[in-house]
Amino acid sequence: MKGNLAEFTPVRKPLTSKELLDEIILYDDRTYKAHCLNNTAAAVWRLCDGNHSVADMAKALVPGSESDPGAAESLVWAALKQLRKSGLLVNAMPSDSRLPSLSRRELVLRLGIATVLAVPTARSALVAAAPQSVSPAKQPSSRRRIPR
């Protein structure tokens, strides 16, 4: 079962992206959401091209992880869960009950990722929406608290 999981090949959504030094910003024009991936999540995202399996990603992400492939794959799955949660993948992932799950502490201990790779994170936000009001004159004036 574990071998099958490692062959899972995720595919990312085609989104507007901006590469930063250690992060990547993605914008989804269907949901109007922007997403910020840290370096680990961004590395996994880049490899979600339909050509890399989870096992391939683990090797690419943590070179020399052959001695403990399970830990490296857990890191990839942690990133993929973040990407799935943010709606950034095209294909459906296996259910959580089948996925390996290591705590943040276990990942850091087994892979020593704290110095090079961070535990993967993806933060999301809705970008600026429709006008708040046509006119300041139309804004409610009495019920809002005036900042000091």
């Binding site: 930063l20 910003i25 600026a128 009495s142 809002r144 900042p147 000091r148």
Partner: protein
């Protein structure tokens, strides 16, 4: 139905005095005008003498006359002097955008506010020349402090406190950012909310501050929101998280995401981004000034 402004109504436009002679020549007495703000073309027509001059001469952004071709947005202002119909003694202004009624009022001030608000929002959403962010901006030692935030987030109050601390006023509503990531002044009067409700527009000079200047690179982005009693406990945000916060306040993010991301990256690449709730504005301003000195020392070493 609507009729032109009467001579007595024309006198209600005190703003007209003191505007540059060039601006007056361009718009004086006209009933229709095409103009550009940045790369956006606007058409404005009005049925009252002096209305166009009144509306355009107050705009806080530079505009230039343009042909009526390829108009991105058209406005009409209709004035009905209800005295004609014996229903009262105050005329009503109707502001239409793209032939749809946007706002109706008996107050010239409210008419202007509605026109300015919609126009700037439209330009901010559509311009590919400049990026508009909902943000206050204060210049400090030749660099910009940008405070993004929606209405009622307390950005004007913090801008005002930073002006008291010695900053130069750039904006309390929009940070206008060029393609190089530099912030331009948006020289509108500060909109101070009154305890009794409504807004009062106060020039920076009245607060003892100077205003405007050249485009500036950004040194500090402050992500904050007022909460009564909150302590200033800033944490550094990465450029990516900073951009995420700024995108919430970027008007054109949905129309031109590529451009917005490119400009925001240039804007934050050398900036420090701090996030904290804030309580008292003056106390927060003191913390911000301290942070600026720390950043300067860090950059030197």
């Amino acid at each position: 139905m609507p009729v032109g402004l009467t001579a007595s109504q024309d006198k209600v436009c005190p703003r007209l005095s003191g505007k540059s002679s060039l601006a007056r020549m361009e718009i004086s007495g006209r009933r229709s005008i095409g103009f550009m703000i940045f790369d956006i073309s606007i058409q404005l027509e009005a049925n009252g003498h002096g209305l166009i001059e009144f509306l355009i001469s107050g705009l806080p952004l530079r505009w230039k006359p343009a042909s009526a071709a390829n108009v991105h947005r058209s406005y009409s202002v209709l004035y009905s002097d209800q005295r004609e119909f014996k229903t009262g003694n105050i005329g009503r202004f109707m502001l239409l955008a793209q032939h749809q009624l946007l706002f109706s009022t008996t107050s010239l001030e409210e008419l202007y506010n509605a026109f300015e608000s919609d126009l700037l929002y439209f330009v901010g959403q559509r311009s590919r020349e400049m990026l508009f962010l909902h943000a206050g901006v204060v210049a400090w030692e030749g660099r910009a402090i940008v405070i993004p935030g929606r209405s009622y987030s307390g950005k004007t109050t913090l801008v005002r406190a930073l002006l008291h601390a010695g900053g130069i006023y750039y904006s309390d509503e929009y940070a206008i950012v060029d393609r190089q990531g530099n912030v331009h002044p948006f020289p509108r009067k500060l909109s101070i909310r009154l305890d009794a409700g409504g807004l009062s527009r106060i020039p920076a000079a009245k607060l003892g501050a100077s205003a405007g200047g050249p485009p500036l690179a950004v040194r500090l982005v402050i992500i904050t929101r007022y909460r009564a009693g909150a302590q200033w406990r800033p944490k550094d945000l990465s450029p990516g998280l900073g951009m995420l916060r700024l995108l919430r306040n970027t008007l054109s993010a949905r129309h031109c995401p590529d451009l917005a991301l490119a400009i925001l990256e240039r804007m934050v690449c050398e900036a420090t981004i701090l996030e904290s709730e804030r309580g008292d504005a003056d106390e927060s301003a003191r913390h911000i000034v301290t942070a600026l000195y720390s950043i300067r020392m860090r950059n030197r070493s």
